[in-house]
Every structure is written in C-alpha cells, then in structure tokens.
Amino acid sequence: MTIFRDIGQYLLMLSGMISRPENAKMYWKEFIHQCSEIGVGSLGIVVIISIFMGAVSTVQTAYQLVSPLIPLSVIAQVVRDTVILEFAPTLVCIVLAGVVGSKIASELGNMRVSEQIDALEIMGINSKTYLVLPKIVAALVVIPMLVIIAGVLGIWGGRFAGVMTGIVPPAIFDQGLLDAFEPFKVIFALYKAYTFAFIISSISAYFGYYVKGGALEIGRASTKAVVISCILILFADYLLAALLL
C-alpha cells in the first residue's frame, strides 16, 4: 500500500507546486541559481563520460566489424546513432540521477529536518512552489542542453579515438557521420532528455521534501531517490523506444 500512498503524495506535490509566485523576481533568481547548480555543477562529469563513451564505442565497434566488406564509414554511423539514441540521453541521465538527484534530495531533506521548509510556510510562502518548481523547470531547461553537449562530445570523442588509433581516417569518419542521418533521432534524444529530466528532478524532490527524521533518513532518501530515478529512467527509455521508434 505504501506505493499507492507515495504515488498519491507525489501527484499532490506536483499539483501543489502550481501556484502564483509571491514574488516573481525571487523565483527567477532561484530558477537561475538552480540552472547553475544543475548545469554548471554537472558539466565536468558530463564532459568526461561523454568523450570516453564515444571513444570506447568507436574502438569496440571497430573491433567487432572485422569484415572487409563493411566500409569503415559504418563505424562512424554506429557511433553516431549509439551516442545520439542511447548513450547521450540515457547514460548521461543515469549519471545525472546520481549527481543531481542526490543533491536535490539531500538539500530538500536537510531543509525539512532543520525546519527551514516550515519557516518558509510560516512566512506565507508556498514551499513547494518556491523550492520544487524551480528545480524541475531548471532541470527541464538544463538537462537537455547537457544531453546535446554529451552527444556532440561523444561523437567528437569517437572521432578522436578513431583517428588517434588509426582505426578510421578523419575524412571517412566525417563521411560516415553524414551517411543516412535522420534528424528525428536527435528529436527522439531530446524527448528522452526532457522525460528523464522530469523524472530525475521530481522524484528526487519528492523523496527530499517528505523526509521524516534526521540525518540517517536524509541519506536513505537520497539513495532511494537515485535508485527509483534510475529504474524509472530505464523503464521510460524502453517505453519511449517502443512507442516512438
């Protein structure tokens, strides 16, 4: 029965955060702050994993495509599609669930335990609107940007690894990137990015906002937020692929 209570409470949180801001300027400031926290705070790890995942996919694709009948440009096509369709949105968002999700859950959990959320409510501020909404909106704005950066860097990393190891000459790799390119794949990657961004931010905010207890419970909520977000990301990944591809 706990799962139904959680779903109900989660939906109530989402509906409760839709209200008129007490002061639009303060909310804008909070939104910009969250964009910086989520975007700039995660940029480093996104850059590192993107370059390496692109490089690894080039090397592994080349390792498996040993037939002389398959042109080398196919390696670039495989790397491009793998990075755009799966690695950039899904892998990056799973990493972001850990980086951003745990941060959101622990920040809100700490605010709950130390009565800072109660203090906001007493002041007459809708704490859901002030604390949760800017995080979700910021995630919806910033995470797709991170996914685009991850896609570009992933492909660049693949090209770099291909050229440096002598697997694919740069001109052939570039030709392969353009061969049979379907722009819908980028749109599909963005659908995934928006869906995953909403999952990461809202699920983590839910677990943080409703923490009860002390430091131990904040840790537990943070872990739970990451685990549930990852599971839902993978589930949504399958669902979107089945529905849209």
Binding site: S19, E22, N23, K25, M26, N110, S114, E115, Q116, D118, A119, E121, I122, M123, G124, I125, N126
Partner: protein, 269 residues
C-alpha cells in the same frame, strides 16, 4: 489576540491534543508549558497552520484561521513571525540575506531601505557586524537572535517561539527571554512561547498554559503558579528540592509566612 477553542488533534489512532482552549492576549508573553510529549509543539503547529486540527477553532482577532482559504491564510501568515527550536536559518544565506528574505519576498522597498531595516532589527537583538556571517559561523544564542530578527523584520502582530532556550546556557537563555519580552511589549505583539524552561516561565510568563497528556491541566499567570495547589503542575515546575525551596522563599516574600509550617532555618541549612 489569538483564541484557541476546543482543539483536538490526533495522528492515526493516537490523540495528541484533546479539547484545549485558551485566550492569548496581545502585548504579553503567552507560554505553553508541559513535559516532552505533552502536545505543546503540536498545539503551536496547529496554531500556525502547519498541522490541521481535527476539531475546534483558532481565531486570529476573531477570524477562524482553519476555515480560511490558502490566500487568506497567507495574509495571516504575513503577520506571523516564528522562532524555531533550531532557528531554521537558511544555511546558504548570510545573516543579512536571512533577515532580508521576508523583505525581498513581500516588499518592493529599495535595497537601501531594506538594509536600514535589517540593521535596525539586528541592532535591536544586539547583533552588530554579523551581516556578512553565515549561520555556521554563529553560536547557538546568536542564531536564535538572528531568528528573532528575521521573525520581527516585517513587524508581525503575532510571534511564535518554539523552545527558544533549548541548547542555551542559563545566562544566554535569560538574554533571549528578556529580548522576547521587550519586543512583545515594545511592538504590542501577541507572543506565544512554547517552553519547558522554568526560568522562562517565571521571567516572562504573563499567561501560562500547562498541558498534561494532551489536555489543558492548568492556566494562570507566573505569579499564580507559586500559589497553585495543582499537584501535577507543582511536580513539573518545582521538580527539584532547590526549586521547591525557591518557591517557598518566594511565598515567604509574597505572604510573609512559610507554607507547610516549615522553618526558614531548616531551608537555609
């Protein structure tokens, strides 16, 4: 003035508050006292709307807070300041930003005017040159004073203090108690203090509500406590031999005779 009428609150099957009524007047410190688990924090949270009572009414100047819609409640809450047990300061903000927060949210004042107001309230709580410090850099007593400054910055009509002395030494507790009392009188605020600190009761308790197992056990003034015959109240307030002696000394001062036919020489020994 705040009136609490027949409040009942339960969590699941457990009744935490039952049939509690009280009248808390403006310009005086109204204390809710009781042992841990007696329901005083729940009562205070019902009064400020953090919990919704199962039954009863909470009237702010005659208007029932419980029946109000969210916007009406927000308007009342703008008139409420609250000092939390752990101060509840925003960790990521400096003292100045913490105190400025309600001003930023609810006023359109220019920054200069806001800074003047912040300096005024920080000065009022005897905190100077702390504007740029973060809560982590402050002592417990200083955090409480910043909490009070934030609570009074919008000139509230109602001030709620949840265990303002918890974790503080007796001297600092006295400073906080006197500060709350002075502010209450100065701004004619209806102040509600939730405490189990006996010094606070005797120092600032113009009206005292004693709760026992979720029910109102006794009410009166701090002076009436001395002469109260309520056994539970006496056991709670004058728990130690030292406090019992102090009570009897106070009775001696007030009436000129010793209670229970005790000899003053025995007490001095």
């Amino acid at each position: 003035m705040i009136e609490v009428k027949n409040i009942k609150k339960s969590f699941g099957d457990k009744v935490v508050i039952e049939d509690v009524s009280a009248v808390m007047k403006a310009g005086q410190c109204n204390l809710i006292i009781g042992t841990s688990g007696s329901g005083k924090t729940v009562l205070m949270k019902c009064m400020v709307g953090l919990f919704e009572p199962d039954e009863g009414e909470i009237l702010y100047n005659g208007e029932n807070f419980i029946n109000m819609n969210r916007n009406e409640k927000t308007e009342i809450r703008k008139q409420i300041g609250m000092l939390f047990q752990g101060s509840a300061l925003f960790d990521s903000l400096t003292v100045q930003e913490n105190v400025m927060f309600p001003l930023n949210m609810f006023t359109t004042w220019p920054t200069k005017k806001k800074i003047e107001r912040i300096n005024e309230v920080l000065d009022r709580v005897n905190l100077k040159d702390t504007n740029k410090k973060f809560p982590a850099e402050l002592s417990g007593g200083m955090k409480k004073r910043v909490g009070i400054a934030r609570a009074i910055v919008l000139n509230p009509k109602y001030l709620f203090c949840d265990e303002p002395n918890s974790g503080l030494d007796p001297q600092t507790s006295l400073v906080i108690d006197r500060l709350i009392k002075e502010i209450t009188l100065e701004y004619n605020i209806t102040t509600v203090v939730n405490t189990h600190d006996m010094n606070s009761v005797m120092e600032v308790g113009s009206y005292v509500l004693y709760m026992y197992h979720g029910k109102k056990e006794w009410e009166g003034t701090n002076k009436q406590i001395i002469f109260s015959k309520n056994q539970r109240l006496n056991e709670f307030i004058f728990a130690s031999e030292f406090l019992k002696d102090a009570k009897e000394m106070r009775m001696l001062e007030e009436t000129g005779k010793m209670p229970n036919d005790r000899n003053i020489d025995d007490m001095i020994k």
